[in-house]
Amino acid sequence: MQITKALVAVVFSLVLFFCWANVSVQPQAQGAGQAAKAGDDGLPVNNALVVQKCASCHKKDDKGRLTRISYERLSPEGWQQAIKRMVRLNGLSLTPEDARAIVKYLGTYHGLAPEEAKPAMYYAEHRLQEETVPDESVRTACTVCHTYGRIISQRRNKEEWDLLVNMHVGYFPVVEFQGFRRFPPPPDAPPPPPGTDTRHPADRAVEYLSKNFPLQTPEWSAWSANMRAPKLAGRWLLSGYQIGRGRVYGEVIIEPTGVEDEFTTKTKIQYLKDGATITRNGRSIVYAGYSWRGRSFNDKGKTADANAAVTTTTDAAELREVMFVSRDWSQIEGRWFWGDYEEFGLDVSLRRVSSEPLVISANQQALKIPATASATESLTLYGANFPADLRAEDIDFGAGVKVKRIANASANAVTVELEIASTAPVGKRDIALRRSFAPGAITLYDKVDYIKINPDNALARLGGVRFPKGYQQFEAIAWQRGADNKPQTADDLNLGPIDVEWSIDEFPSTYDDDDKNYIGTLSPTGFFTPSVEGPNPKRKFERNNYGEVWVVATHKAKDAAPNAKPLTARAYFVVTVPLYVKWDQPEVGR
């Protein structure tokens, strides 16, 4: 951001030079498919409404292909974004109903195969995630403004990737200097060694993208031949997890509407930790046979606590659902989210209830192995169709764990008394109830080795006066090191949330750094509320209340010796400025 005025001016004039020097940077409605050589791979548009609304600018050829449109395959959000730009900048007018129908057609028949969509789902799910961008040119040219997720939820032929670069240059000329082009070497610099790739990063990025994200793929040919509207009506069990609130268990009834790939939902869920129950009604569209976009409402039409500035449970007035339906229609997984920055969310997994018993989760995530002899633990399993004649020997946790008796049973929940032997091996266990499995649903451990903060790298945004606050919930997770006896490795066992004390430490990035006094407050439950945006006259140079700090969690075991060292963990946390423009496509779930 420290860009001097002088630099802006330089940048600008050079950009103008480039813009005029190279006419092809003008965004084009024609483009792809015009050139005969690139021609034959496009997808015909078999939808009268799309042709009627788009073909005035995107010419139709004798094979039913429209320029540009037939040479790209996009996620529903990708189509929504392009069409909104057609309206905003290119002079298209559309009713909301037509826009919805067009996005539905294109998001389905010019969409992605499930295997292609899966690695990019986090983008539609608005998940906080650290991205790895395998290609250096793409990283420097393309991920300085927006995420890689936006890019990999698209497929295009080479010409379309080129035209996308032109679109950026045409609308946002400074992009040339943010990484699209190399700066020319100083006049007295020695010539680069022979064989040096002197192409501009954007050109190299296009080469990488057209090779790795092409229009035609075996995945898409296979999926488009097999695609059909999914039959999802029925009863589903939900297990979920929300940072700071813990595990959630519940039920979703999916009902058909008159339209084959649209559904209504009735959801009832319970937070296992505090018992809060929530009911919601929703509506959804499933694109391309698997890609669920929906939203749900609480029955009050507002947050349960109307006075609360923010709701940290799923009783938000409206929450959005982005999920992925498994190929056999037996599972649906994804994220339900809300908040002005989509910072609140529930990771959900739905399993279809058939006529067979189904076990999906338990009320605890980890059980401790006693040091000597054996221990008795009570555990409740959740599921459906638990048989009336269920016996202790129908339930199996693997070696060292014996089901002593069934204390309480209904069709949906059963409480068992377990005997855990001191010799029981440490590890993740599947819970089997007759022939139904809940894979890895419970972990046996003997020691908490360390704790970690989730998320361990986070961002909140100042707000509350003119722009919304972006909140952040933290939680501490207990871990046991795995068989390799090394902490922070892949075989470590997640033992679930653990109670800690929260505090904030300065992250010294300047001399006399005092951010921690300004950024906001962290509650005893790890919930961070940022301060207001705008210049702060009390700070040097009227700096905003932004800053970066360490969030620190400290855990003292109840049974620890008085002089034992507590377990601690920290997370790097940036509290920064608001976003002033919000590129987001909530329409795909409406």
């Binding site: 951001m1 103008l16 024609q30 995420t147 609308y171 920064t576 423009v581």
Partner: protein, 114 residues
């Protein structure tokens, strides 16, 4: 190829931009030669919150403008961070019409949803 009005509109704004800016002393800086360093953006920072506008090259806030409102117009006018701040050139020509000085009048600018 058919000529599209959007493009003409855009071209017109580019021209307007130069016309306006030619009078400002910014342009004299051009004579000082090529930039000494590349613009400042967070290499390697790519959490899914749109990176760039919100953190400096070290991944923190120390290098942001102080206060950031001072920087808002440069970002807006040059569409430096069009994913985070509305761009003047195409999408939001009137974004700051109610706000002459962002450091003072920041309460008058809107969050926009393209």
């Amino acid at each position: 190829m058919k000529h599209l009005t959007a493009i003409n509109r855009k071209a017109k704004r580019v021209e307007e931009y130069i016309a306006v800016n030619e009078e400002e002393d910014d342009v004299f800086a051009l004579q000082q030669g090529p930039p000494q360093q590349r613009p400042h953006y967070p290499v390697g920072c790519s959490l899914v919150f749109s990176p760039g506008w919100e953190v400096d090259v070290t991944g923190g806030t120390a290098g942001l403008c102080q206060p950031v409102e001072r920087d808002l117009y440069d970002c807006y006018i040059s569409c430096y961070w069009p994913a985070q701040v509305p761009d003047h050139l195409n999408n939001y020509p009137d974004w700051t019409s109610k706000c002459a000085n962002a450091t003072k009048d920041w309460r008058k600018i809107d969050l926009v949803f393209p």
